[in-house]
């Protein structure tokens, strides 16, 4: 016979867990805390350093004026800020459509060897260094057009974003509860209609979050842009011309032997950080509003 519940409670040792168990608990907790600190510390140091070094150069002029020639004081990165926005916007448009569509295909219809091949290709792509993607885009787009251009940069960045978006979209779409699909099908909805009006809206928040992560990465990429968008010291918003971008500008200015350029590189880094944070916060808010 097993004792009544009350008796079983009484049979527990009094005074709580023993010393060894409490010590072990404290040790594991301390280990977790140390791990947390190790993760947070570099991030905090990085952000603090960028803010400390970048803030002195931050002014309205930095956002609205063009780079000045060497030796002239002042000037800003207006062309690079706008250029980065154009590049990221264009590559986002390409990558979210292609990547989202591929992810949706894999989740909804992805069976058999072809889907397996697509999945494997996405995985391989994730492991390709960004400079290699830059070289590929140089060969495919820049050489075809005949000169460096913003669209070549956007394509290179889009290729870099694709694997993240494909895999996350597939996962998020798979997470949409089966019961939603069943409800829609039982009402007589054809398959494409179920995907369009039930599955996609339900998965949209996740797709946007994944796209934001990928976009933030793409916004900071430098290597592929050197080989595709090149950079531009003048104002240009044309997609078929070389375009300035913050990462490339930061790269140039940080290497330059002029201290005022170095200062501008720090401020550029701060602005890039702020830009990415602001855009992702706004998109998240927008998604929460819809959902």
């Amino acid at each position: 016979m097993s004792p009544a519940p009350r008796d079983r409670l009484a049979a527990l040792p009094r005074g709580g867990p023993g010393l060894a168990r409490r010590a072990w608990n404290a040790l594991v907790l301390a280990g977790c805390g140390a791990g947390l600190a190790l993760v947070l510390l570099p991030m905090i140091m990085l952000v603090a350093h960028i803010v400390a070094r970048g803030l002195p150069g931050l002014s309205l002029a930095f956002f609205v004026s063009m780079p000045k020639p060497v030796g002239e004081p002042g000037g800003g990165m207006a062309n690079a800020i706008v250029g980065t926005m154009i590049l990221v916007g264009a590559c986002g448009l390409i990558a979210v459509r292609v990547g989202g569509g591929t992810g949706l295909y894999l989740a909804e219809y992805g069976r058999g060897p072809f889907a397996g091949a697509v999945r494997y290709a996405a995985e391989l792509l994730a492991g390709v260094p960004s400079i290699v993607v830059g070289v590929a885009a140089y060969g495919l787009v820049v050489l075809t057009i005949g000169h460096f251009s913003a669209i070549a940069g956007a394509i290179a960045l889009a290729i870099l974003m694709l694997p993240t978006i494909v895999r996350s979209t597939e996962e998020v779409v798979r997470l949409v509860p089966r019961s939603y699909r069943e409800a829609a099908l039982a009402l007589g909805a054809p398959r494409w209609r179920v995907v369009q009006s039930v599955v996609l809206p339900a998965a949209s928040a996740g797709i946007v979050t994944a796209s934001m992560l990928a976009l933030a990465r793409a916004a900071g990429e430098t290597a592929p842009l050197l080989l595709t968008a090149l950079g531009n010291r003048f104002w240009s918003v044309a997609l078929d011309q070389p375009i300035a971008s913050l990462p490339v500008m930061i790269f140039d200015y940080a290497r330059a032997p002029y201290s005022d350029w170095n200062q501008q590189a720090w401020t550029g880094a701060l602005v890039l950080l702020l830009l990415v944070t602001a855009v992702s916060a706004m998109l998240r808010l927008a998604v929460r509003r819809i959902g």
Binding site: S179, Y180, A183, A184, L185, A186, G188, A189, P190, P201
Partner: protein
């Protein structure tokens, strides 16, 4: 519509009990009930909303339903009972072809629902005429209004005024209108479980089906919400034919006119609910309803 009478008076009704062939026999199709037999004199009752003839369903090589045959008269509630895994839900899902979603399902025999041959009918048309309510409330993550309007929009109704009128009517019929009338644009996920289930019923009523299939519609709900769903079922049978899968025998006894007992994919017995629960003609049925197994 006949009023809901006590058990004893129901026992005098005309429909003969059709007893399924004994387990293990190579089962011939059961005799067709008088109402649909060829050449039979027309009966006063409405034609059967569902008729199942020698219907079998296989998952690959495994038979999940074996030679099922019975009829469901229009404007009645039929309960399907039986232990878990006996094929209750599979049978229910055969009526609107939800089993199509599962790979490797094969069927034999004939099922007619709402005048359509289920196997050859256009599945979209079939599912419009045959609504379904699931075990767990499954409203879409959309507004209450958009949930009910979903099926209407599928039918191509775009006119705002008509949508509003039909959404209101459906919510009224599902006994939910008074609780949600001033928050139709709020998310359906904010409703309680019982309200969500009534919303799902309203969503299914909106496209004016003839038959409503319910797969354990109250098993995820608390007793109060369950009682409201049961009341609703009794109310809805005036206009619709309802088939309810349940493993709650009290519930079957409370809400159904006829009860079918399924075991291991075979229809053991189907009869007027009071008779099945008080004097079942098969020993297996008696054992099950008295709790000797299952």
């Amino acid at each position: 519509m006949k009023p809901r009478a006590g058990w004893m008076s129901l026992a005098t009704q005309t429909r003969p009990p059709s007893v399924a062939p004994a387990r293990g026999e190579s089962a011939p199709p059961p005799p067709a009930p008088a109402a649909s037999a060829p050449g039979a004199p027309p009966v006063a009752e409405a034609p059967d909303a569902i008729s199942v003839r020698d219907f079998s369903l296989f998952y690959g090589a495994h038979p999940a339903l074996k030679h099922i045959g019975f009829d469901v008269p229009a404007h009645s509630v039929t309960a399907i009972i039986g232990p878990s895994g006996c094929g209750k839900s599979t049978l229910l899902r055969s009526f609107n072809r939800m089993n199509d979603l599962i790979a490797g399902v094969r069927t034999e025999g004939e099922v007619r629902v709402a005048g359509l041959d289920v196997r050859s009918a256009d599945v979209v048309e079939l599912r419009r005429r045959v609504g379904m309510v699931f075990q767990r409330p499954n409203p879409f993550p959309k507004s209450i209004f958009d949930n009910v309007a979903f099926g209407l929009r599928l039918l191509g109704i775009r006119d705002r005024a008509e949508l509003e009128a039909r959404v209101e009517q459906s919510l009224l019929r599902a006994a939910l209108w008074n609780e949600v009338r001033d928050r139709l644009n709020r998310s359906a996920l904010q409703l309680s479980g019982g309200q969500q289930q009534r919303l799902c019923i309203a969503r299914c009523l909106a496209v004016e089906p003839e038959v409503i299939l319910m797969d354990e519609p109250a098993s995820a709900l608390d007793p109060t919400a369950t009682a409201r769903i049961e009341e609703l079922v009794l109310d809805l049978k005036r206009a619709y034919t309802i088939v309810v899968v349940t493993h709650n025998m009290q519930q079957a006894a409370r809400i159904s006119d006829r009860t079918a007992f399924l075991l291991d994919g075979e229809l053991i017995e189907i009869d007027e609910t009071p008779r099945l629960f008080t004097s079942p003609s098969r020993k297996l049925t008696e054992d099950y309803i008295t709790g000797r197994f299952g």
